[in-house]
Structures are given as C-alpha cells and as structure tokens.
C-alpha cells in the first residue's frame, strides 16, 4: 500500500501530482459528476436529448470535448414535412383564405404537374394568409423549403412570403423575402434563425403593391396559390441532459425523465460546458446510504441572479448548499445546532469553486480557496438533490453547475490538492 509523505506526516496534502485525476487524489466519493473525466479514463458522463426530435444519446468525456455531442444536437432534423394527401395537414385558414388539401394533377404553363397539393383561395381583398405551428423555437435555426404556384390567371396574387412567429407586418418579419411565381411551379429554400415561437404564416403576396407586397389588394379575392412539399428542417438546436452519470462507481446517476425539467447543455447550437438550470430544472432525488457528519461537497457553479436564494444541492430533508439572498454563499443543516453558515460574497454570472464541509460546530464554507468556519446543524446526509434543495424558501438554481463531488467524509486533507486540480481545469481564481 502506497502512503504519501504528506499523509505519513499527518499533513494536509498540498498539491496533486501531475496527471492525477480527482478520484485518484481523493477516491471513495459517494457521487461525482462532471462533463470532464474525474476518473482518469474516458467515462460516460452524460445522456443528452436533442430538442429537434427528442432523440437521446450517451456521451463520454472525450465525446463532449471532441464536438460529437454538439454535432449530435445540431444534426439536421426535419421537424415538419407537409402531407396534403388527405387534407390541410393542420394549417388554419383565415377569414380571407379558404383551404383545400389533396389536390392532384395541379399543372402549370410549363407542364409541371404535382399531386397532393394544398389549394389556397383568397376569400377577400384584405391580407390573406394561412398558418400552422411547426414547433419552431426562438433562437434555433431552420431551413425551409417547398414549392408553390400562383396561376397566371390570378388578378393580383403572384407570390408568397413565409413569416417568423413575430407579430407585425414589417417585411423584416418574413425571412423568406418575397417569393414570386411567374405562372409556373417555383421551388424555394431559405434559412433563418427564429426570433419567436408560435405559428409560421404563409402570406399571399402581390408584387404590384411594391414595397408592401403583403398588403390588401382590391380585386385579389378569388386568386389562388398552390403549395406543395413544405418542409422545415431544424439545423441548430438545443440539447438537454436526461442523465448526468455518476463517475464514482456507485451508480448514483442524476436522472431527469421529465423533458420540461431537464437542464440545458447545448443552447442555440453552442455547447455550454455546464448544465444550465433556468429556475425550474432539477434532477430527481438520489437516495444515498445514510452517513453521519462529516461530509464534504466540492462544486463548481454559478448563479445568473443576485440577491435571490437559489439552491445548488441538497443532501438531507433540510440540508443544502446554496446562493443566499444576502448575496453570500451559504450552507444550512438542521439537527443539533441547526444553523446557517454564510461564506464569502457572490456576484451573478461568475463561477465559484466551493468546498462545503458539514461538520457541526466545525463546519466550513470554502469559496475559491478561502475559508469561513462556523456552525451548521448536525444532521448527516441521506440523499442528493442537484439543481435544487429540499430546504424551504430555497428556489431551484438559476445558473450553471459544472462539477459536483460528494464525499461522506471530511476531505479537508485533500482540499488543496482537489482545488488545484479543479481550478487548473476551470481557471476560476
């Protein structure tokens, strides 16, 4: 058995050896989570659901850094492919349009004929449009393609414009620009980043109106546009964490089976390098073997909001580490000596490396290498809640967590070495 010199001399370990991982420096963690390897190998670290089609995939630490995770999330996925073979496929008509699906043999003057076409008839002279929610999400990017045909027999209508979910008739709300048909079928394709969720409108257009082709046009009632093969492909998406795998070997994986409560890891196509909790995301409670104090939790986290009490984690029914509304880091535990221990001040949008030691009257709240000692309650740990706590009055985190390592023991002796390892990776202080 190897015993380090520091250990043999009973001294606090000062530095980690080059290349040593977190769990080599301090093994026997009860749970350990990160997007990097804490083991020294290449463990599976995260299971990700992409927003576009809800597909999921596991990724190792190297899969995160290599870009494989980001590529998976941003894989092109068709979120809507029109099917007008049996009807209008969910498109809603307005008071100024009438819709009919399943139009076959729709031919133009050039002899091109299409089946399974949507027929849109303008039912008045006012603006005419149809609309449907394709599942577009603000901030994500889409390629929209399709075909349309405005017969030359029309009085006024000769084109279409496809609108973002934004309100208002400004031409800037139509990322398609003005698409004109010369009496023949026209294919189109364009890409845009959505500014709004909601319905995407297909507006009938009139070139003769000049700079206002989406306006009203006297005599346009009865004009027709045919639409076929309309497709929305999501090309830049969001990714969410379904499982944050425990690297400790204890299989205490953090799982969230509810899509609406999963923290984000890829936002508008970009890897966040953290799990982003936005005030209503958290993992399911992880049951742990009960363990009396002392216990230690290392975290790298941030909050996006100052002056609010926001939980990073909970380890008992009323035991937590959190950002307090006093703008101080804090820990709290019930039991004998029940008390809050406040540490250093925090500001929003900045990472902090915390060493939280729950140890009754000898508790520690260490932030970025500094130490505040004091008292918390004496309850031990028996659960782990990540992104929240069970402590009343503490809201779910509105911020990011990069790493969380939990020990059912006092890790003061390894603190300096672990903090050196963690800080060298994240460059926090």
């Amino acid at each position: 058995m190897h015993i380090s010199l520091d250990s043999a001399l009973g001294r606090q370990r000062r530095l980690n050896s080059v290349g040593e991982s977190v769990l080599q420096i301090a093994p026997n963690a009860a749970a350990a989570y990160s997007l990097r390897s804490l083991t020294g190998g290449d463990p599976t670290v995260v299971r990700v659901r992409r927003k576009s089609d809800n597909a999921e995939q596991d990724f190792t630490a190297s899969g995160v850094t290599s870009g494989a995770l980001t590529s998976f999330v941003n894989e092109d996925v068709t979120i809507y492919q029109s099917d007008f073979s049996a009807g209008v496929n969910g498109f809603a008509q307005t008071s100024t349009t009438t819709l009919t699906g399943n139009q076959d043999g729709v031919s133009d003057s050039a002899g091109t004929s299409k089946d399974n076409v949507l027929k849109v008839v303008k039912a008045g002279d006012a603006q005419g449009y149809i609309q449907r929610d394709q599942g577009v999400v603000a901030g994500l990017t889409y390629t929209v393609s399709g075909s349309f045909f405005a017969p030359s027999a029309n009085t006024s209508v000769d084109g279409i414009m496809i609108k973002d979910g934004l309100a208002g008739s400004s031409l800037s709300n139509y990322p398609s620009g003005y698409l004109v048909s010369d009496g023949t079928w026209k294919d189109f394709s364009f890409s845009y980043t959505a500014a709004s969720d909601g319905n995407q409108r297909v507006q009938l257009g009139v070139s003769s109106l000049g700079s206002n082709p989406n306006g009203s046009s006297t005599g346009s009632s009865g004009d027709i546009v045919y639409i076929a093969d309309l497709k929305f492909v999501e090309t830049i998406s969001n990714g969410f964490v379904e499982t944050w795998y425990d690297q400790s070997g204890n299989s205490n994986d953090a799982v969230q089976e509810t899509a609406g409560s999963q923290p984000k890891i890829v936002s508008s196509g970009s890897l966040l390098n953290e799990l982003l909790f936005e005030g209503s995301q958290l993992f399911d409670t992880i049951s742990l073997d009960a363990s009396a104090q002392p216990n230690s939790i290392f975290t790298v986290s941030n909050t996006k909001v100052a002056s609010q009490t926001r939980g990073i984690y909970g380890t008992n029914i009323s035991q937590a580490g959190y950002y307090r509304s006093s703008n101080k880091h804090a820990i709290f535990s019930t039991g004998t000596g029940s008390a809050t221990l406040e540490g250093a001040a925090y500001v929003a949008d900045r990472d902090y490396l915390r060493f939280d030691l729950f140890n009754g009257a000898s508790s520690v709240l260490g932030v970025d290498g500094a130490t505040t000692s004091g008292t918390t309650g004496a309850d031990g740990l028996n659960r782990l809640d990540i992104g929240d706590s069970t402590l009343g009055g503490v809201s779910p985190l509105n911020g990011g967590i990069k790493e969380l390592i939990l020990y059912a023991s006092d890790q003061s002796a390894n603190r300096a070495a672990l903090e050196t390892n963690i800080n060298s990776h994240y460059s926090i202080f």
């Binding site: 299971r47 659901r49 089609d53 809800n54 597909a55 999921e56 379904e242 499982t243 089976e257 509810t258 899509a259 609406g260 409560s261 999963q262 029914i317 009323s318 709290f332 809050t340 069970t390 402590l391 009343g392 009055g393 503490v394």
Partner: protein
C-alpha cells in the same frame, strides 16, 4: 399555462405517459426504461389534488374544456 387537475397522482401520470408516448420520447421507443419519459410531471396542489401542466399537450375537446390556468401548489416546508 394550462393545467388539468386530477384526483390522484396515478391518474395524472397516466395522462403524462400517454403524451410521452405520443411525442415519442426515448423511454417509450427504446423500451428499456431509460430516457425521457414525460413532457411534464404532476405537482401536488394545496388540496392534495394533482396538477399537470398541459400547455403543450395535444388535448381532446373534453380536456380542453376542463383546463384551468392556475392552481395553488402544496406549500414548502419551513424556511431556513
């Protein structure tokens, strides 16, 4: 937000399961008990009913007529 109120947690989860299957979440596709299962999960109300956020659910007409736009959640335990 739109909510459906259920008398039991089991009934609310049954509806959440139905929506999860409809969406095609991984839990239902892979049939291995792993992966995302629900779009939303019910919360307990102050009168011990269960509120399911169905804002983005595909509701039938009967459900649409039964939605409420708010509920009072079960309060948290004591504050620190």
């Amino acid at each position: 937000m739109l909510y459906l109120i259920y008398a039991s947690k089991e009934a609310a989860i049954e509806r959440a399961d139905e929506e999860g299957k409809e969406i095609g979440f991984d839990y239902w596709i892979e049939d291995n008990g792993q992966g995302t299962r629900w779009l939303t999960y019910p919360d307990e109300t102050i009168d011990h009913m269960w509120a399911l956020d169905v804002t983005n659910y595909d509701l039938d007409d009967s459900e649409k007529s039964s939605t409420v736009d708010h509920y009072t959640p079960l309060p948290d335990p004591d504050e620190d």
